[in-house]
Each structure stands twice: as structure tokens, then as C-alpha cells.
């Protein structure tokens, strides 16, 4: 087993984007990945919203876990608490963005509620506790995982726009060809492994 807790925040950040891409190596967030990644524009919107929410939920859940749940011996309630925190922070992000920047709200608006049920967000929270990251590393991991996810979905959308014009077997249309493309992307991302020495 790798000792994840000894890796520095910067390495965690880069690793989360490339070597441990949450979508292509951990398969999280596949549902919205397959549903949304038909257009580059909406993928960019969703990607940005995910980066935002992931950074925030990781930063919020870390102190809640270590300063409230652990001292009170309530860690078995963890899943419920994390989910509620994710739902609440998505709501909060939505309200803040609406007040601060109208155009950004219009761009992200429809995607924000979708994020509550995105397993990548919840997965990032669970991974940071399992790997015992420090607070800074957890935040870096949240941001990195979000960016990695956004990168994958935007690249995928670009490819699917081209694939839509190509001639492929009828049975493969839609999810089939998307999965094969994702597989080839995952192969390409395997090339990054070894970039972070500790893994």
C-alpha cells in the first residue's frame, strides 16, 4: 500500500489531475460524464462548477470530520454528514454566484444542482479521509480532482463532436463509442504514471 499521507500538497494536486484522474482511473462521475459530454460549451460549464464545489466540500468536510465527528466518536455517521455538507455547499455556491456574478450564474446555473448527485464529489471526500491527507493536501486534492475531471470531460466533448459526424456501427452509437473513447483516453493517461515518484 502506498503511504498517501506523506505526499506533499503540490504532488497531490498534480497527481490528482494526471496520474490519479478521478474519472479515468477511479471511474467516478461517469453518469454525468456520458450524459453531458456532447457539447464542449456545457462541459466547460459543468467542469468549472465541479472544480469549485470539490475544492469547497473538501475544505469543509475535513474540519467537520477531524474536529467534530472524531472527538464525539460519531464517525459512523460520516456518510450522512458529508452528503448533507455537499448538498448544502452546492446550495450556498448557487446563492453566492447568483449574487456576485450574473453571467457566471447563467452559465453554471443549470449544472449546479446536478453536482449534488455527482459521485466524483462524494468520492473525493471519501478518498481524502482514506488516504489521511492533511488539510492543505485535502484542499489541493479537491481542486486537482475537479480539474482532472473537467479536463477529461472537456476533451471527451471535443472528441464526441467529431465522432458524431463519423460512421460507426449502429450498436455502438451513443454510450458504446463514448466508453471506447474513454478507454483510449485512460490508456493515454496511464502514460503519466511514474510522473509522481511516491506512487
Amino acid at each position: 500500500m502506498t503511504d498517501w499521507s506523506s505526499i506533499g500538497p503540490l504532488a497531490v494536486f498534480i497527481g490528482a489531475i494526471f496520474t490519479n484522474n478521478i474519472l479515468l482511473t477511479n471511474f467516478l462521475g461517469m453518469c454525468s460524464f456520458l450524459a453531458i459530454s456532447r457539447e464542449v460549451k456545457s462541459s466547460v460549464g459543468l467542469g468549472a462548477a465541479v472544480v469549485f464545489v470539490m475544492g469547497m466540500t473538501n475544505a469543509l468536510n475535513w474540519p467537520i470530520h477531524y474536529y467534530i465527528l472524531v472527538p464525539l466518536n460519531l464517525t459512523y455517521l460520516g456518510y450522512i454528514v458529508y452528503i448533507v455538507v455537499i448538498a448544502a455547499s452546492v446550495q450556498l455556491v448557487e446563492m453566492v454566484v447568483e449574487r456576485v456574478s450574473e453571467p457566471l450564474y447563467r452559465a453554471l446555473g443549470i449544472f449546479l444542482p446536478l453536482i449534488t448527485v455527482n459521485c466524483a464529489v462524494f468520492g473525493a471526500v471519501l478518498f481524502m479521509f482514506i488516504r489521511r491527507y492533511s488539510f492543505i493536501a485535502s484542499f489541493a486534492y479537491g481542486l486537482g480532482a475537479g480539474i482532472g475531471w473537467a479536463l477529461a470531460i472537456i476533451a471527451m466533448a471535443g472528441m464526441r463532436q467529431k465522432i458524431a459526424k463519423a460512421k460507426i456501427p449502429r450498436g455502438l452509437e451513443g454510450p458504446g463509442i463514448a466508453l471506447i473513447t474513454a478507454g483510449i483516453m485512460a490508456l493515454a493517461f496511464l502514460g503519466f504514471s511514474g510522473m509522481i515518484p511516491a506512487q
Binding site: F27, I80, T116, G171, P175, G176, L179, A186
Partner: protein
Amino acid sequence: MADVSARPAAAVKPGSKAARTFLDGVGRNNPVFVQILGICSTLAITNTVANTVVMCLGLVWATAMSNFSVSILRKWIPARVRMIVETLIIAVWVIVVDIALRAYLPDVSRQLGPYVGLIITNCIVMGRTEAFGLANPPGLSLLDGLASGLGYAYVLLIIAVVRELLGSGSLLGIRILGTWWTNWSIFVMAPGAFFLLAVLIWIVKGAILREEKK
């Protein structure tokens, strides 16, 4: 796909709603092949058969029990907050699975890592409570949850068997293929899972398309 799922299964006599509910989840409305739902964990934990079996049991349990409890509470859940209520109900059943695993199978629990907890955000569980549990009586919901869970489980098992056999040359940790077999390590890693699921979807979709043509 609507016309396919609306047609009652041929083998079931008309009127037997329970049987139809069950067959729908396992076959014509299979969550993985037809609805392409919940494939996150389909891919992540299927590189060994043993882990997959445990994961499947957890998922069948969570789907059936959440569907059952949502159905019991359906008259009292306000429509506006139903999503978060459903999520919390699912979380409770998943926590039960997690605690049981940690107590009785600590090694498997460690290997599965976050994926047990991620059953909460698995779209299949949520989708069934939303689409079925909220509108149907508890008994039927329990059955529907079981069927959807099993429909998901056997797909997972097919994938796991192929991945472990080709990727490590073994099944349930026992070496099946002899020393002549060179492991296709790509099947243990992420890309293999993507390719395999794509091929399975291709086969199933091809069969559905052929049937439609007739």
C-alpha cells in the same frame, strides 16, 4: 427504447404484476445495459470476482431496502425535499453495509475503499426510489429493488469474471489458466474495464436492434 420496455415479457402470464416487475429489472430494463446507469462502480471494483460479489450483495441490499423504506414513507415525504430525504434513507442502509463489512470482512472492506460508501450516489439506487418507490406499495417496491439490484449484479459479475480471468489468469484468487497464459494486465487496469463494458453494450444493443427489425 420505450416500445421495448412497455411490451410485457412473453414468458409471464398477463396480470402477474409482481413477476413482470421482477423480470423487467433483470432483463428488458436492465440498469447497466439499457439505461447506462451506475456504471461508476461497475468498472471500479470489477477487477477481482471476490470483491465484486461482496459489492453486489451490498448493492442489492441497499437498493431493495431503500426502495422499501421510501415506499413505506411515500405519503409523508414532501415532494420538494424528496431528493435529500431519499439520499438520507439510502445513506442509512449503506452505512449498515459498511459497518457490517468492517466488522466481518475487514480485508475486503479495505480493498473496496470508498466504493461501498459510493453506493449512496449510485444512480441506480436513487433512480429506483425516485421512479418506483415513490409511486408503488412497499411489497412491490422491495421486489423491484431486488430485481434492479440483481440485474446490476449479474452484469458486474460477467465483467468481473472476464477481467479476472484474462487479467490475472485466475477466478476467485485460484489460478485457472496455466503458466502458458500471459496475463493481459490491461484488463486489471482502468482501460480494460472501459473497453469490456463498451463491447458488452454493443452486443446487447445489437441484439435489441435485431429484434426490433423483425
